[in-house]
Amino acid sequence: MTPVEFDLRKRSVRELNEFLHRRLDGTRRVRALNPDGAHAIAVGINAPIDVDIEGHAGYYAAGMNQQARVTVHGNAGPGVAEGMSSGRVHVKGFASVAAGAAAHGGLLVIDGDASLRCGISMKGIDIVVGGSVGDYSAFMAQAGRVLVCGDAGDALGDSLYEAVIYVRGQVKSFGADAHEEPMTEADHAAVSRLLAEAGFAHDPGEFRRVASMRSLYNWTADANQEY
């Protein structure tokens, strides 16, 4: 079945999204040509289809995705795959701030680096970053996993809840309540699985586990203004 093509120089993002929401009619693959950094491309899909964004995407590419497999063949702007609950979003280039923000599930793969606040407020998504992540990544992250094959910036995992971060490179600094913990067998297995799903060949033994100390979970005088 040949893919349906939308040339975004000729047709609007509105037409594309309308098609993805309501007129799929058995379509298996959609190609968005010449995205030229447009915002909100392929948002709110709820169908098991493949979408290829053939270039750079602006803000919120594949936002709130359900089921779809969306590939950005370029860089992605802020909030790629924000709010996603299932499916898979693959950024072949770099991702800007807040990648995978507040997302409930599914897998986000970023081949290059991700900027500030990658995985902020995440609620169950798995994020695999081939490169490094910026400051305040996994800020207030509640559930899910972030796997960073490169380095992490300042304040990694600040105010972390139950999400777990695996880092292969250097961590510039930990945020409030985040610390390094020993890797268990389960962690090694999880890292292997995530690497395999994302298509990276690193040795799981090179990763370190970062999780919450849980010392801010309850509000006491001893917290000494950490709040």
């Binding site: 993002v13 509105r14 999204n17 309308e18 929401h21 309501r22 915002h39 909100a40 948002v43 709110g44 709820n46 602006g58 803000y59 919120y60 936002g63 709130m64 995705n65 359900q66 802020p78 909030g79 924000e82 709010g83 609950s85 701030v97 807040a98 923000a101 507040a102 409930h104 606040r117 902020i120 407020s121 609620k123 169950g124 800020f139 207030m140 509640q142 559930a143 105010s159 809840y161 139950e162 979970y217 309850n218 509000w219 006491t220 005088a221 709040y227």
Partner: protein
């Protein structure tokens, strides 16, 4: 000698205005705990408010309508700017966003039933949409908050309108709190948090940071919802004039402004009392901003924060609001601070439970504890049963009906066939402060402090 004894026996009651009883209590509490106080409800201090305004009813210079016979329309439409399906309400009084988590599921159910009967809307809150409130509410506004707890695409599609919450009147610039005792299994699951954790909601949205970003965020929400649903932007009243202009620039269909009397289930007391401006001071700034942008009537204005009576509603509308939103008043209608609760066909005393919280009915602000003696702001299975949805819905419905009757009575007295025809010229102020804030003349004068005249 005798004189000295006499002096000593005189009972000294000279208090200090600087260190009064409540200030002494405050310092004692701070010294004992090392923590700021967290409590429910909105600002308690005396503020310039709608009570400081009165209507100039019709007489010789204006012609009234018959209070009981002639029609006075209350229909209200919100979201006419971009949404394909604007929200149509029978009355201009809506129910404000209050979270499942702060409130029980039965309360959300009761509010939904009452709103549906009266043809108005309810609003979700920080914690997601419950099946109970979706089922019972004909028109449900779904909030997109900084925490994004329970915010998902399925519920976006199920909603009738979306409300991007930038902040709220009780704490502009701050995030919410939900203390561990209220995070039961269901609340924890909906918010994806560990049970019993003292949860601090974010104060900033995770994926946008300013008005230009917000414009793109709103566009995304429109795309996800296929441009069908109105998008409201809500914020706490601070720099209202600029914030309204920026919200309009960002593409809002409806702007919701929450004054500092707006309630909360749990916020730092210092925040509640010392951040934000009174509702009265916010409305005209918002209206001016809309007028300057030629957006009056295109972008609707909803006002909340301390709206209690039909008179408050009428005054808010006269100053330029298209609708009002009520949170705390609804809880009081349900029985908040009542000395009794209704369960299994009879009233029962709630006095022992108030006593356990160290308060008496009428003074309770312990929403944050989850030990609500009348079963409203709780997640405790036993306490929750004290608010029966049907009985609660009846009281909320009665309250809404009363407000609407009062509103139309005042509108008719001012000669208006439609409550939306009420105007600032129908009002005067009783205090200089209220005159300056509401920009209506001080009663008996033509003086509006701060105006050039």
């Amino acid at each position: 000698m005798n004189k000295l004894v006499e002096l000593h026996r005189r009972f000294q009651e000279e208090g200090s205005a600087t260190f009064d009883r409540s200030m002494i209590d405050y310092i004692h509490r701070a010294a004992a705990t090392g923590l700021y106080e967290i409590r429910g409800l909105g600002a308690k201090r005396k503020l310039p408010h709608f009570d400081d305004l009165v209507f100039l009813g019709a007489s010789l210079s204006r012609y009234p309508l018959e209070g009981y016979r002639e029609k006075c329309h209350t229909k209200t439409v919100l979201g006419t700017r971009f949404a394909k399906k604007p929200v149509e309400l029978a009355i201009p009084i809506t129910i404000a966003g209050m979270s499942f988590g702060s409130l029980s599921a039965s309360v959300k159910d009761a509010l939904g039933r009452a709103a549906t009967e009266l043809g108005t809307s309810t609003t979700t809150g920080d914690g997601g949409m419950t099946s109970e409130e979706r089922r019972s509410s004909k028109t449900l506004v779904y909030q997109c908050l900084p925490s994004r707890y329970g915010f998902n695409a399925d519920d976006v599609r199920r909603a009738d309108a979306l409300e991007v919450v930038v902040g709220q009147g009780a704490k502009p610039g701050g995030g919410g709190m939900l203390l561990g005792m209220k995070i039961n299994e269901r609340v924890a699951r909906m918010r994806v948090l560990p049970q019993g954790v003292d949860q601090r909601s974010a104060s900033r949205h995770p994926d946008w940071t300013g008005p230009d970003d917000l414009a793109i965020k709103i566009r995304e929400l429109r795309e996800i919802s296929d441009w069908e649903k109105p998008i409201y932007v809500k914020f706490g009243a601070t720099r209202v004039y600029h914030d309204v202009k920026l919200a309009v620039h960002a593409g809002a269909d409806v702007v919701v402004i929450d004054g500092m009397q707006g309630g909360t289930a749990a916020t730092q007391a210092v925040f509640i009392e010392h951040v934000g401006i009174p509702t009265l001071a916010a409305i005209r700034q918002a209206v001016n901003a809309l007028e300057e942008l030629d957006m009056r009537g295109k972008v609707q204005l909803v006002v909340s924060g301390g709206i209690r009576t039909g008179a408050d509603v009428a005054k808010a509308l006269a100053l330029g609001a298209d609708a009002v939103s009520i949170g705390q008043g609804m809880l009081v209608a349900l029985g908040c601070n009542h000395d009794q609760y209704w369960q299994d066909g009879a009233f029962h005393s709630a006095a022992p439970d108030y006593a356990a919280l160290g308060v008496t009915p009428g003074h309770c602000h312990h929403c944050h504890t989850g030990r609500c003696p009348v079963g409203i702001t709780t997640q405790d299975a036993e306490l929750e049963r004290r608010l029966e949805p049907e009985a609660g819905a009846r009281r909320v419905r009665n309250y809404l009906k009363t407000l609407n009757m009062e509103l139309t009575t005042l509108a008719r007295a001012c000669g208006k066939q439609d409550v939306h025809h009420l105007e600032p010229e129908d009002l005067v102020a009783l205090t200089v402060e209220a005159a300056a804030m509401a920009r209506v003349p001080l009663a008996g004068t033509n003086w509006i402090p701060g105006s050039s005249a």
